[in-house]
Amino acid sequence: MGRIVYAAAMSHVLYPDYYGENVGPHGRRMVEALIDVVRAMGRTLAAAAPDALVVIADDHLNVFSFDAVPALCVRIGRSVSRMVQDDAIEFDRALEGLPERYPVHEDLANSILEKGLQSGFDFAASWSAPLDHAFLSPVSTLYGDRPVPPLVPFWVNCFVAPQPTAQRCFAAGCHIARVVTEGPWKVGVIATGGLSHFPELSLARVGQSDVAFDRRVVGWMEAGDTEPLTALTAKELHESGSHELLNWLVLLGAVSPARARVRFFGEMGRIDLAALEWGVA
């Protein structure tokens, strides 16, 4: 019987220059401290030796554009590329220097997709979508020079309204956990993004976060209290800049009723940075 051997969630721009340029020395120092913590988490993850790593993250309008925006999408196929962006600026520069291709755990990805469709989850599937910083900045920080296990990238539409509900994301995570249990593999699961930033996706509000909201959400995770998390509305997520919490809700469904342990929480002003682990082993 398969099992989830490691579960964590973390902010996903693990790139000091970005915060150094946009926030200043305080931002750079804070993300460097987070990176140290994520590297330590990576040692725990690597020691768990997962056969596959499910990575739940969002598209920053890099991959699916506006021609078709899947609510939830499983990356299938044999391998997946890093997104290529010429003359990258801002958060896209976090991809620079990373490997160009990563293996996909085809059997687990196909199982999540096929069993999903059999049980009422109409996931989209992609054979070609590349990965942006939301996936690769955490994965590369967790693994460093160690070999990255085969990935199962799983996209949540966090930014193009209407997004999937918190409840639906949680249910998708429960589905992923069921598929893992039915399979033969040891699986790591990570979710990325957040905490609050870019409220209302408004350029005028870049630089603001909602610390009270973030503290409340993290407290619920520490307590293993999923009910208020799954009750979060699109309006609450949008107004607080917590769009990417939908990724975390998928993970919460996969690990429930486990409680989170906070490994890092930092208030930067522009964003609250965080890294949490769940006791699943």
């Binding site: 309008l61 003359d87 801002e90 896209d92």
Partner: protein, 71 residues
């Protein structure tokens, strides 16, 4: 409808270097065949990122278009 067109242009500006070069050289000409409202077109021509965002343009695209995005 227009929100879609606005974001298609932003996406092309990020991903299509040749289009981006044409836009920077002559934005009005580069957008001549694009179905935009007058308000949207003028926001592009004067590269008013805040106005484009308020008209439905993706924040993440507006921040990350080489040579045009950022703060």
């Amino acid at each position: 409808m227009s929100r879609y067109e606005t974001n298609v242009v932003l996406y092309r500006l990020k991903k299509d270097a040749a289009f981006r070069d044409r836009f920077r050289a002559d934005p009005r000409q580069a957008l001549a065949d694009v179905d935009l409202t007058d308000e949207e077109r003028e926001a592009f021509v004067r590269w008013d990122a805040r106005a484009l965002n308020e008209l439905g343009g993706s924040l993440h695209l507006l921040l990350s278009i080489p040579g045009l995005g950022g703060h």
